[in-house]
């Protein structure tokens, strides 16, 4: 188990490093010079200077940001008949990797702040959002699956199944947009509290305020994640209901609800673990959409904005973080599998 887990971890870590390297190299090879970001709008506010001065200040900024060095160990000079040059360890990629190993994610081009700080602030918004969505979605999924498995054929069950199938194809951005336009619009229905009391208040009041602000984003995330969790669980519950031991249990006179909850659910939960590992990336991608739609300052929006402004240290760090989180999810699911059913030896 341990060795297998280690190998799996290693492979996943390799994939995470690979994808981050890919994004790093692709981003550095794009034409836009990040030093322009530092000058930013200031050029428009400032009194103009001569070309030579401007060039010198650009060069100084490149030097300060460590962009004056070549991108990779070997680079090719531009032109159709370009030659290859070997740069040794003095290149941006080497610097990035060695800083990364020391736990330094670099600095944002746009703000000059450490990327770790920026990510930390953004995660403080996104983690509660995605976390509460995950918990709510899982709980709702188990409840709904139990209902669908035992409910008689009828209109209500068809409605639930129909809406789940509908939600499954509904793109998250459309769902979030619909919720925003219908439920947070003063001209239609506005369920968001109109107040300036919230943020200045403390304790419980601010919690209520936050919950109210986060209701719609969480609702969109939950609704979008729900079908993928519920449908397989309901299917496997129904499958278990047909098995011999379930029939035995029911023949002994146990009510169907208890059979489902106590006997079948633990067995049917196994596939749920796999779905849960898939839930994590879904939610991460979902936060990008939801935070853009609802204008929340979280990590998803940070990533989207950084990508649009070519703030590559932030983009690369974000990709690395997401890959890492997914990796963790995979390993966690494996361990859970093993704990729940030791027969499923991972070596098999």
């Amino acid at each position: 188990m341990g060795r297998w887990l280690l190998a799996r971890l290693g492979r996943a870590a390799l994939a995470a490093w690979g994808i981050a390297s890919l994004v790093f190299l692709v981003s550095r090879l794009l034409p836009a010079g990040p030093e322009q970001l530092v000058l930013g709008e200031a050029g428009e506010l400032a009194y103009p200077t001569t070309a030579a001065q401007r060039l010198a200040s650009n060069q100084a900024i490149r030097q300060r940001l460590g962009l004056a060095e070549p991108v990779f160990y070997a680079t090719r000079s531009p032109g159709p008949a370009g030659h290859w040059h070997w740069h040794g360890c003095h290149n941006q990629y080497h610097q990035w990797v060695s800083q990364l190993l020391r736990g330094n994610l670099g600095q944002s081009y746009a703000s000059g702040q450490p990327v770790a700080t920026l990510l930390g602030q953004a995660l403080a918004c996104s983690v509660p959002l995605a976390g509460s969505a995950a918990v709510l979605a899982t709980a709702l999924a188990v409840g709904l699956a139990l209902y669908v498995a035992r409910a008689p054929q009828g209109r209500l069950r068809a409605l639930v199944q129909g809406s789940l199938a509908f939600l499954q194809v509904m793109p998250l951005f459309l769902l979030a947009l619909a919720l925003l336009l219908l439920l947070a619009n003063p001209d239609v229905v506005n369920i968001l509290p109109a107040s300036r009391q919230g943020e200045s208040a403390s304790g419980l009041a601010s919690l209520v305020y936050w919950a109210a602000r986060a209701t719609l984003p969480i609702l969109s995330l939950v609704l979008s994640a729900l079908p993928a969790l519920t449908l397989p669980l309901a299917a496997s519950l129904r499958h278990e209901l047909g098995t011999a031991y379930a029939t035995t249990a029911r023949a002994k006179g146990l009510p169907i609800g208890r059979v489902l909850r106590q006997h079948l659910l633990p067995n049917a939960l196994l596939p749920l673990f796999t779905t849960l590992t898939e839930l994590l990336p879904t939610l991460v991608a979902g936060t990008v959409v939801v935070e853009v739609v609802f204008a929340l300052p979280g990590s998803g929006r940070l990533l989207a904005e950084a990508a649009a402004t070519h703030d590559y240290p932030v983009v690369v760090a974000g990709v690395l973080l997401i890959a890492g989180v997914r990796l963790l999810g995979l390993v966690l699911a494996d361990i859970l599998y093993f704990l729940v059913d030791p027969r499923l030896s991972p070596s098999a």
């Binding site: 994939a15 890919l22 194809v169 619009n185 990336p281 989207a304 990508a307 990709v319």
Partner: protein, 330 residues
């Protein structure tokens, strides 16, 4: 199970198919449809107007006609997402089935081919001293193949195994390390992408799923009795792969391809909605939907493209279900 095969398609199936056929026709005939307004031209006198006899479905906050935008979105779907799915399915099927068929050790290449590959790579990457190095490599590999062909036939020729399975699994793991949307956002941000670039990027993020599915199916097909028979008859391996294994391994793709298409359509419209890598003259449903954020009361901007997108995705889902019942029930 045989009964299921004979059951007629559900009414939903016909509804779904007719919607998709309608989309296909509209998308293909878009340049010849007589629309009152072109898709990307703003009507400066009617910005964000509700549906009226002038603009049947209204205009968006950029002044573009919503009806024309609907047609342009269908065209984009047919010309961008459909080829992307085709490409992804092709690449995924070939890579996945080859990986499942040959595994890590079965595909052995003659050692001499390594020299050829190295020479070709050296030439293409224009590494230093390419004329000299490439000619030396070529001479060595020609000598080597001549030598090995002179050796007694039947004695083991020098070969090396190509770890095909690991390569394909590694690539899928690499691309699967982050969600597809995140990968697209990270790679597609910046200047608007050309049509071909966007198409290949979409295919790039879509092929691993297909490859994994086909590989799993191929592992099952490999051990079927008819495969044993084919091998026993002495057919070359690639022939068995192409004519006997591949058709069976690709069977699940009939129902999976519509789902891939649905996934890509959703992804492509999400990108357009986020405004990443898009110019405003490339009108799609997602880029029309995003303009509602400039004017939250323009319900007509959401209604038509949103409905079209939903109908398409629902239709694809139903199609996949029906095809799944037909092909994989047995």
């Amino acid at each position: 199970m045989k009964l299921a095969r004979r059951t007629p398609y559900h009414a939903n199936y016909w509804l779904a198919t007719s919607w998709l056929v309608l989309l296909l026709v509209v998308g293909l005939l878009a340049p010849w449809l007589l629309l009152p307004y072109p898709a990307a031209t703003p009507d400066l006198l009617h910005m964000a107007t509700p549906p009226s006899p002038l603009h049947y479905l209204g205009t968006d906050p950029l002044g573009r006609d919503v009806l024309a935008g609907l047609v342009a979105g269908a065209q984009r779907l047919v010309l961008l997402s459909l080829p992307a799915v085709g490409l992804a399915t092709l690449v995924g099927a070939i890579a996945g089935s080859a990986a499942g068929f040959w595994g890590n050790k079965q595909l052995r290449l003659p050692l001499a081919s390594a020299g050829w590959l190295l020479a070709a790579g050296w030439w293409l990457a224009t590494l230093p001293a390419r004329a000299a190095v490439v000619s030396i490599l070529l001479v060595i590999s020609i000598l080597f193949s001549w030598l090995s062909s002179r050796q007694a036939v039947g004695s083991s020729r020098r070969t090396f195994p190509l770890p095909l399975d690991s390569l394909v699994l590694g690539a899928t793991a690499l691309l699967g390390a982050v969600p597809r949307l995140i990968l697209l956002v990270a790679l597609a941000a910046g200047p608007p992408l050309s049509f071909v670039q966007l198409l290949s990027l979409l295919a790039l993020v879509a092929w691993p799923e297909t490859a994994r599915l086909v590989r799993a199916q191929m592992l099952r097909v490999r051990v079927q009795p008819f495969m044993e028979a084919a091998r026993a008859s002495g057919l070359p391996a690639w022939h068995i792969w192409l004519h006997h294994a591949l058709p069976h391994a690709c069977l699940p793709l009939f129902s999976f391809a519509p789902l891939t298409l649905a996934g890509l359509v959703g992804l492509e419209n999400t990108l357009a909605f986020l405004g990443i890598g898009q110019a405003p003259d490339q009108v799609s449903w997602g880029s029309m939907l995003t303009t509602v954020r400039q004017d939250p009361n323009a319900w007509w901007v959401v209604a038509a493209p949103g409905l079209a997108l939903l109908c398409t995705l629902l239709a694809l889902q139903h199609l996949a279900q029906a095809l799944n019942k037909r092909f994989n029930a047995g």
